[in-house]
Symmetry: C2
Subunit: 340 residues, 2 copies
Amino acid sequence: MKNNKVSLAEVAKAAGVSKMTASRVLRDEGGFSESTRDKVMAQVERLGYLPNRLATVFAGDKKSTFVGVSIPDLGNEVFGMVLEGIDRKLGAFSHQSVLGLTQHALDQEESWIETVLSWQPAGLILTGRSHTPKSLVMLKGAGVPVVEIWDLNSSPIDLCVGVNHFDSGYDMGRYLTGLGYRKLGYVGTSHDTANAATARMNGFTKAVQDADGQVTRHLCLHDVPGFYPGYYGTEQLLSSGAEIEAIFYQNDNMAVGGIHYCAARNLSVPGDIAIAGWGDLPILSILPYRVTTVHVSHLKLGQVAAEVLLASLDGTPTQDVHDIGFRLVPGATTGQVGRI
Amino acid sequence: MKNNKVSLAEVAKAAGVSKMTASRVLRDEGGFSESTRDKVMAQVERLGYLPNRLATVFAGDKKSTFVGVSIPDLGNEVFGMVLEGIDRKLGAFSHQSVLGLTQHALDQEESWIETVLSWQPAGLILTGRSHTPKSLVMLKGAGVPVVEIWDLNSSPIDLCVGVNHFDSGYDMGRYLTGLGYRKLGYVGTSHDTANAATARMNGFTKAVQDADGQVTRHLCLHDVPGFYPGYYGTEQLLSSGAEIEAIFYQNDNMAVGGIHYCAARNLSVPGDIAIAGWGDLPILSILPYRVTTVHVSHLKLGQVAAEVLLASLDGTPTQDVHDIGFRLVPGATTGQVGRI
DNA sequence: AGATATTGAGTTACCCGTAACGTCCGCCTA
DNA sequence: TAGGCGGACGTTACGGGTAACTCAATATCT
């Protein structure tokens, strides 16, 4: 457990050359003979030398190949897929993700930002568009690219890759009202991703109001947007007395919960209640029919975020804001009103 | 984008003290007066000084606070929860996860290990017990604690935190045969987590054979263990001609796929086919009844892995192998044979 | 042959903190 | 008043690499 790390100096001495020459060989910088290379490489092999990249960053006053990635949580596949997209892309370009789980708390994000910046990262990828004032100061002074993901943000700190959540909600509202529904429900949580989910809800509400319909909302307090909240959220919404023809859920997990509630109560979908989700999550594949939802490629979102960051590091100019887009997927869980 | 980083020397100069004094103040090491502290802190504030931890590691010939964490994938919640457990615990002790997605490939793990070691991590957490020979050499020579997770490994490289997958499969086999089933099926994938899932299957098979029963296996080739493979894997197993009374699945996602297949074919569960899964995954909460499964706390597994690593860094002696344990959860999807 | 490139390798300084040690000065004690 | 002592701060020397420069030996050209 001793620090028996082999240093470049030791390799050089063993090979009978100077540190600098060994350094040149290892970086394949040129300016050395074949025989020197062989001598050095032989010692590298023999001693099991592993370079110390901290020293390299330090020496060159360079950036590291770390990228700080803040993610709210990994409790469902959503941000797992985003992170997978990020890390796969970064890995392909020899960069590493340094993770920060913020648990949806801005002050946790702040202290994580401070720590991660002290390691001289090459860049940062942050989920969400809200940050504490101190975070903003640090981020702006850091001198490294910052990509804000998930929410589309027309005036990002630096760069932004995301989805227009408001529009996706609006489109769903227009779709459902287009099918004839006017008495709509919305079931979500008051939990998190708050900005994005709230934007969807607002977009949805706007579209429905534009079509002279109305939306009854039910937010499950302090809960993660999973199956169970979807189940009992539906129960509570329907037993609130409001007349509801169709429900838009915060995400597909909740929508599946709603579908199961309807099945348990012998409510036909979409005959009695039409159901729409969001995200096109893997869960939907358990059902033998398509659920109306909004498709978003979480993996791609992560990949593009990493690409944009790498491009910025590379000096390649790119647009500041990247809209990943979404696609409304009509399914069997919503139908024409009056035709079952 | 220039390197306008403020150094300790600049802070010190601005405050009219030496670097060393400023350093002492910042580390609250003592040996300075109140007025000196105030002068220094005022400049820290004014200049927005952020320490450079690279230099700190470097100066003290210390370890960093990075912990390399290799994870096969984040496509489902399983490893997402494990990673969440790890990162939350590490974060609470001021350490950071440097992620490595291996995509179940040992050579990817190898090159990631090489890279991450070059950053002088405090330790490593690796999923799985198989590593390439070169990986083993590097890990043993690294001089940092290494925790292998997921599979229980009686002779780990250094430390191990996991579940006894064989035993959990064996227990399920004994449970099902105890209920009277003798014609068993197993549905899994040939994909990954291979070691662990295979161990479960082997344990299951052993228990069934010990009870004079038999197991018909069906492995879906090259597929992730999700709902859909569970669905069609069940179809293929049942249409293979083998008589099957009960099926044990690689995990709950696949088991839910199997349940949906049975529902689609009007097969009663457990009347016609009993079903058992593994993992006690969130998906199960969509069903209004309990599914027979094996409960494993993925979050806890991650937390314990991080704790063990931190304890090792701390010099606190711990046992080398930690068994997280599992708990067979009887549910409504398996019943007494002959009684529906 | 002498002048000028080219190649191969060594020297020095530096990156930014910190450990270890050194210095100065005021205060207390005998 | 000399001597001892400790608090407050400064100086120096790293640590593992790299940029920039220097220098010697060989190759090339006129």
